[in-house]
Symmetry: C2
């Protein structure tokens, strides 16, 4: 049997009890090599592969699941930019007939929202800027649609060392929309969320654009951005998107 | 000090270790009366209020936080349609100067995605259809923008006994978009996710529209819908949105 397990940001405090119990009871853990450190404490055999070896990793996990209980581990939630879909797809394509169960985890949107304050407290979008598997024109169209809908926008995989274009183009679109509608969006940036060396900044789209080089230097693959909607504000240094209670009900 | 704690769907297995530890160590729990059953096991004093009494609840939690450690508990994630923003807002408005910390939880999008298969494995929107605090025209505009962006759409609070109009209008928009673009979207519906009496259905927008009465009967406030994007498919009875690996890499 294959368990596809989301472990949240990595630290023990963010594992669910269910993920914890499964990892204690399986025969083999399969994960990205960078996440081995998060699951070593279970004292199980661990098989890892690197970036761009996702198909090998999932295929190995499925093959081993024939006569073992295997956990394919993703950070965050395994169905949110994780490997759960690939597991279902390969299982079908290769006729493995393995039973698959997904265990949800704390995704980066949730952990970053808690760190920044409460920016996701109204309708929001979750969007990856990685153009490795998705054409850039689709990504940029989604940025436009999200702005048109006044959604809060959570951005995963904003940049890597060799991939800066999608981020720069996306920020250009946000800036244009902000200028046209005269909104200076609040922007929250979290690096290494709930991990060692966690850092966050709360700024605005104007400040970000005016100091673009500084922010491009700061942002990496372990960074998540949250761009507020037109009502998002800063309260006591925290980024807060009102749900609307104080518009509806009088508070004295 | 006030901890705003997301506990996931409610069952012990979905609490994070961090949420568990905080609830073991605080002096008072404040929550919606329907969720009392999920936190009684901590043997702490519990203050509850009902629906539409959110401001009273948060205000009480903040006042008690002056000389106690208080946990304001939300199901799911406290920053996603929970009470985290209201806590920050009231704290400022009433000059309480309480220290607030948010603990993330498994939101319904994650728990439902795991139950349905892996529908959130590409860019998605999280949208509430409750027009109690948000004007219906904004909600419906967001449905349109989400469809234009080909986002997977996760719908919270689809209907209550007295509030069916936003759902019916939203489905009308999805149907029109589906017809125009000749896409029969896969739709996943989860009721009482990860709770007693959990039920799920995987259908399509055409089937849903053709049997609207049956679905309106089924869907309630404890139901979450996930509408796939144009690539979402059904594999072995599960709803799966491909991330794109099998388009990019050849698998034999």
């Amino acid at each position: 049997m294959l368990y596809v397990v989301g472990i949240g940001p990595g630290g023990e405090g963010y594992f669910t009890k269910k993920a914890e119990e499964i990892l204690k009871n399986i025969d083999l853990i399969v994960c990205y090599k960078g996440y081995k450190k998060f699951v070593e404490r279970f004292n199980k055999p661990i098989y890892t592969t690197g970036m761009k070896k996702e198909i090998d990793r999932v295929d190995y996990a499925l093959k081993e699941s024939k006569d073992k209980d295997v956990a394919l581990v993703s950070s965050g939630d395994a169905t949110i930019y994780g490997l759960a879909s690939l597991a279902y797809e390969l299982n079908e394509k290769k006729n493995y007939n393995i039973k698959i169960e997904v265990i949800p985890g704390i995704t980066s949107a949730s952990s970053c929202s808690a760190i920044l304050g409460s920016p996701l407290n109204h309708d929001f979008v979750v969007l990856s800027l990685s153009d490795l598997l998705t054409p850039l024109d689709i990504i940029l169209k989604r940025v436009k649609c999200a702005l048109d809908g006044d959604f809060v926008i959570t951005i995963y995989n904003p940049m890597s060392k060799s991939r800066k274009e999608p981020f720069l183009k996306a920020m250009e679109i946000v800036k244009e929309h902000a200028e046209k509608n005269n909104i200076n969006y609040v922007v929250g940036i979290v690096k290494n969320a709930s991990r060692e060396n966690e850092e966050y900044k709360i700024t605005t789209i104007n400040e970000l654009i005016d100091n673009l080089e500084k922010y491009v230097e700061f942002i990496d693959m372990n960074t998540t951005l949250i761009i507020g909607n037109s009502n998002t504000k800063v309260i006591d240094g925290k980024m807060v998107t009102p749900r609307g209670y104080l518009n509806k009900y009088k508070v004295e």
